[in-house]
C-alpha cells in the first residue's frame, strides 16, 4: 500500500466516544487535561460531547457527570490550535442544542444518522451551515448497506450542505475490503471539494488497517482515540495509527511521542476497565452490533443472569441499530423469561 505524501486530518474521539467506556463520567479536569495534551501534540480536531452526542444525557444512554455545555465551556479556552467538534444524533439532539454548542465555540458539528436515514439530518446540517460551521454528515453502521445505498445517503447529506461525509463502522464489523469498496464508491460520487472521513472501531483489531484502507480509497479525515478509549474494544488507537502513517510517509502534523504520552500518561490511568477485544467486544465486531451496547449488555447479564454474548448476538439478529440501548434490557428480560429465571 503506497500512501506516501498523502495529507490527512486526524480527529480524536477519546472525549466523546470515550465517554461510553467511562459511562459518561469523565470529570471536567480530565477533559481539560486530555484536550490540552492532544492540542499540544498537534491533533487538529477533538470531539467533546456526551457519548451519544448533544442531549444524550438520559436514562437510556446514561446521565453524564456534567452537561454538554459544561464540558464544552470548560475545554474551549484550553485548546489553542485544534478545532473542537460536537456530535448530534437527530432524534436525540435538536437544533437548540446545536446552537448552544456553537455558542460554546465549537468549530465543527457532526450530524450522525443510521446509514439509511440521512433525511432526518436536514434541519441540523442546514442550521450548522447557516452558523458557518464545518459540517459533517456521519453515516453510522455503514456495514449494513452496500455502496449504492451509501452513495444515495451521502448525496442527501451533501445536498443539505455537509462539506464532509463520514462512512462509519460503528460495529467494528468491516473488513478492509468492505472499507475500500464503500469509501471508493462514496468518494467518486461526491463533489471533489467534499471531504470524506472514516470512523472505525477496533472490535476485530482492524481499526488501524481499515483506516489505512480508507485513506487509500480517498478519505482525508480519520477518527481515532488516544489509547483507543471508545465504545466496544475502542476506536482506532490513534497513537498506533499515527506511528504507522508516519512510517508510510502520510502527513498528519501530529507529534507522535507527545500523543503517545497523552495516551499512556493521561488516558490509560482514567480507564475503568482495559480497552481490549474481550469476549463481548469481539462479539460486537463478529455479529455487527453497535459498539456502545457493550457495557449495557454486561449490566444486563449481571441483573438478569443471561449471557451478555447471547444478548448481543440476539440484538444483531434482530437488526437493532445505534440508539436502541433500551432493547438490551428488553431482550435480556425476554431471554431470562424463556430460561425460567424471570417471571
Amino acid at each position: 500500500m503506497n500512501l506516501n505524501g498523502k495529507k490527512i486530518t486526524i480527529h480524536d474521539m477519546s472525549l466523546r466516544d470515550g465517554m461510553h467506556a467511562k459511562r459518561h463520567q469523565i470529570s471536567l479536569e480530565q477533559m481539560i487535561s486530555v484536550a490540552s495534551g492532544l492540542d499540544a501534540a498537534g491533533v487538529p480536531m477533538i470531539e467533546v460531547t456526551h457519548g451519544d452526542g448533544l442531549a444524550g444525557a438520559s436514562v437510556n444512554y446514561g446521565f453524564p457527570a456534567h452537561t454538554d455545555e459544561e464540558y464544552l465551556r470548560a475545554v474551549r479556552p484550553h485548546v489553542k490550535n485544534a478545532k473542537i467538534s460536537a456530535l448530534l444524533l437527530p432524534g436525540i439532539g435538536t437544533v437548540p442544542e446545536l446552537e448552544m454548542a456553537a455558542d460554546c465555540g465549537v468549530d465543527t458539528i457532526r450530524v450522525a444518522t443510521h446509514c439509511t436515514e440521512a433525511d432526518v439530518s436536514e434541519q441540523h446540517i442546514t442550521k450548522s451551515r447557516e452558523l458557518g460551521l464545518d459540517t459533517v454528515g456521519f453515516l453510522m453502521m455503514a456495514h449494513m448497506v452496500g455502496p449504492e445505498k451509501l452513495i444515495e445517503q451521502a448525496r442527501l447529506m451533501e445536498g443539505y450542505g455537509a462539506n464532509c461525509i463520514y462512512v462509519t463502522d460503528s460495529a467494528g464489523y468491516m473488513l478492509p475490503d468492505d472499507v475500500t469498496l464503500r469509501l471508493k464508491a462514496v468518494r467518486e460520487a461526491l463533489q471533489p471539494e467534499t471531504e470524506l472521513g472514516f470512523h472505525g472501531h477496533h472490535n476485530l483489531s482492524l481499526g488501524v488497517i481499515n483506516s489505512l484502507a480508507a485513506v487509500e480509497a480517498g478519505a482525508n479525515r480519520i477518527d481515532g482515540s488516544a489509547a483507543g478509549m471508545g465504545a466496544g474494544a475502542g476506536n482506532t488507537p490513534l497513537e498506533v495509527f499515527v506511528a504507522v502513517t508516519e512510517r508510510m510517509g502520510v502527513e498528519t502534523g501530529v507529534d507522535l511521542f507527545k500523543l503517545m504520552d497523552v495516551a499512556e500518561d493521561l488516558v490509560v490511568p482514567m480507564l475503568d476497565q482495559p480497552i481490549r477485544v474481550d469476549r463481548d467486544a469481539l462479539t460486537l465486531g463478529y455479529a455487527g452490533v453497535y459498539s456502545s451496547f457493550l457495557l449495557f449488555a454486561k449490566r444486563a447479564q449481571q441483573r438478569y443472569g443471561v449471557s451478555s454474548r447471547d444478548v448481543l448476538v440476539e440484538l444483531g439478529r434482530r437488526g437493532m441499530i445505534g440508539g436502541q440501548e433500551d432493547m438490551i434490557e428488553d431482550v435480556a428480560m425476554e431471554m431470562a423469561k424463556a430460561q425460567g429465571v424471570l417471571q
Binding site: S58, V59, N60, P90, G91, I92, T94, V95, H114, T116, E117, D119, V120, E122, Q123, H124, R318, G319, M320, I321, G323, Q324, D326, M327, E329, D330, M333, E334
Partner: protein
Amino acid sequence: MSKINAALIGSGNIGTDLLYKALRSDWINPVWMVGIDADSEGLARARKLGLKTTHEGVDGMVPHMREDKVQICFDATSAYVHGENNRKVQEQGSIMIDLTPAAVGPFCVPPVNLKDHVGKRELNVNMVTCGGQATIPMVAAVSRVQPVSYGEIVATVSSKSAGPGTRKNIDEFTQTTAGAVEKVGGAKQGKAIIILNPAEPPLMMRDTVHCITEDEPDQAAITQSIQEMIQEVQKYVPGYRLKNGPVFDGNRVTVFMEVEGLGDYLPKYAGNLDIMTAAGLRTAEMFAEEIINGTLVLQPEVA
C-alpha cells in the same frame, strides 16, 4: 343517527389510515380529503370511496365547506403548514383536530385528558405525536400514583412507517413529545427520543418509558395503575401491549411496550400510525357527540 361531516387534510399515510377508520365511525362522516399531489394514492382511494377531493391544498376545499357542512377537520400535513390550515378552516366554523406536532392547541391524549377538553369549547386540539400517544398514558399511569420527577420515552418505529414530514421535522417530534410528557404525562421534566429502524421485515412499533419517581416507587400500586391504563388504551388500539416490565430499579420505573396496528392502510407493524389516527378519531367523536347533543355550537366567522 346523524353524523358530523369531516374533512381529512393530508393524503399521506396518516390521512389515508384515518380515512378507513373514520368510515367505520358512528359519529363521523368523512366527506372531503385534501392533498397537494394530484397523483396521490390517498386521494385516489378517497375518490373511490365516494369522498370529494382536491389536490390544491386547503384552499381547494374552503369554498365548499359550509355547503358540505364540514364541522370537523383533521390536519395530517406538517407542523409548518398547520397554522395556515387551522386559520382557514376555523374561519369556516370547523373544529381542528391537529395530528401534526405543531401544538397550537392543547395536547390531547384520550385516556389521560380527553374528558378535560369536554365543554371547554376548544376549537383546536393537538394529538401530540405517535410516540406521545403510545407512551404518555404510561407516564400518567405512574404519576397518578406518586410524583414523577423525570419521564423519558424512547419511541422506535420502522423506517417504512415514518413519512417525509416526520423526517424533515424530526426536532418537532422530540420537542413536542417531551413537552407533552410533562404537561399531560405529569412528569416534572420530560425527554423524548425517536429511533427509525430500517430492518426488513419491518419491526413493530416499540416504546420504552422510563420514569424516575421522587420517592421509592409503590410497586403494587404502579403495576396496577399501568395495567388499568393499558386496558383504557386497548379500547381504541387493541394491539397496545406490555412486552416487559414494569422494571423497578431504585427509583426507576421502566415499561417496554409494543404497538400493533389494525392494518387499515399500512401493515400491522405501523402501530405508530394506528395509535395516532385512532386517538385523533376518538377525540373527534367526542366533539361530534357534543355537537349532536347541542352542547357545542360552532359559528363560522363573518367574512
